[in-house]
């Protein structure tokens, strides 16, 4: 099976091939890194795009990805920020269009309970199993003491 990472690499290489050949219409404006008004805006933008997943190359954040759609979405995020939207509103805007998938930190709701609490539940079960084993062994210690003496430590 081809890994998503490999697809991302191939896609990036492929895009690199395509850009000069078809020269996307917006190449001049959006391909350039965004210009920030001040460092606060830049920091907010970087923090926000780190939290959003690129929809095309799904192992990268919006901040990392070089895919065409990621560039467009970065521009969209910046535009929304400049319209005075809060971080939550920007995220909601993208979720409404691309789904929960764009969030690296999915919301806590019934469909994501397994994702959020599954590891803790597994850890708890593991803890009980270990505690059970330890308790049984320490109970065995006296009766098994004779056998233990034969073991090579």
């Amino acid at each position: 099976m081809i890994s998503p990472k490999r697809i991302a690499v191939v896609a990036t290489l492929f895009l690199a091939l395509l850009v000069p050949a078809t020269s996307f219409a917006q190449a001049g404006s959006t391909a350039a890194p965004p210009q920030f008004n001040d460092t606060t805006e830049a920091e907010r933008f970087h923090a926000l795009t780190e939290e959003l997943r690129c929809v095309k190359c799904q192992n990268q954040s919006l901040a990392d990805s070089n895919a065409q759609i990621a560039q467009d979405l970065r521009q969209e995020v910046l535009d929304l920020m400049r319209q005075g939207k809060t971080d939550a509103e920007v995220k909601q805007y993208l979720v409404a269009r691309y789904g929960e998938f764009v969030l690296y930190r999915p919301r806590v709701e019934p469909t994501t309970w397994l994702l959020w609490f599954g590891p803790a539940v597994l850890l708890l079960i593991g803890g009980f199993v270990v505690a059970g084993i330890v308790r049984r062994r320490s109970g065995n210690r006296q009766s098994a003491a004779v056998a233990d003496e034969d073991q090579e430590w």
């Binding site: 467009d72 409404a96 691309y98 789904g99």
Partner: protein, 190 residues
């Protein structure tokens, strides 16, 4: 070396526990392998299914100056197919889409994404134009409203302007037969 005698209270079931755990892990692995066979597993489910198609106003490829709005298309279902001359998979899909369009079941509208006007026209001339109408979105701004993130992507919009179905990636004969046609039948029955 002889194994130490089993403690009397260690039940027989406990001895099978490691094997059972291994079996479970093996099943999990098998499930992973089977699930990853789906070549389209990276396609995102669209949150827009069941919701109204976004309002838009887009230029028409073949008529300079003419803009088409979403309201103009309302009243009857249409299939919106996102394509670009830069998109190799669109060529794969093209004959299948053409065959479907020729059945004239539903208006098939092209959504020419991020293209060059001349390249798009040349592509349609070379491979044939299966579309009833071709809209263009060369900035990709409207595409964001549709949740489009590449090409080909295909949407089925019903007569009330509700998005009923979406497919990411090239459609195959099977996609049309097993997924699109049943939904289309439902849409037409209304």
């Amino acid at each position: 070396m002889t194994p130490p005698a089993e403690p009397a209270h260690k039940s027989n079931a406990m001895r099978w526990l490691p094997l059972a755990a291994f079996g479970l892990l093996a099943l999990l692995l098998l499930a992973g392998v089977i699930l990853s066979r789906d070549g389209n597993r990276e396609a995102l489910p669209s949150p827009l299914i069941g919701k109204p198609a976004p309002a838009f106003e887009l230029p028409v490829l073949h008529e300079a100056g003419r803009l088409v709005t979403s309201q103009e298309l309302a009243g009857a279902p249409y299939l919106l197919n996102v394509w670009g001359s830069w998109c190799p998979e669109c060529r794969v899909e093209h004959p299948i889409l053409t065959k479907f369009a020729e059945s004239k079941r539903v208006r098939v509208i092209g959504y020419n994404l991020k293209d060059e006007h001349s390249d798009a026209l040349r592509w349609l001339e070379q491979f044939g134009n299966p579309y009833w109408l071709v809209l263009t979105d060369y900035t990709g701004e409207t595409a964001i409203d549709w949740g489009i993130y590449g090409a080909p992507e295909t949407f089925l919009v019903d007569g009330d302007g509700i998005i009923r179905w979406k497919h990411v990636g090239p459609m195959s004969e099977a996609t049309i037969r097993d997924e699109l046609l049943p939904v289309l039948a439902e849409v037409e029955a209304r």
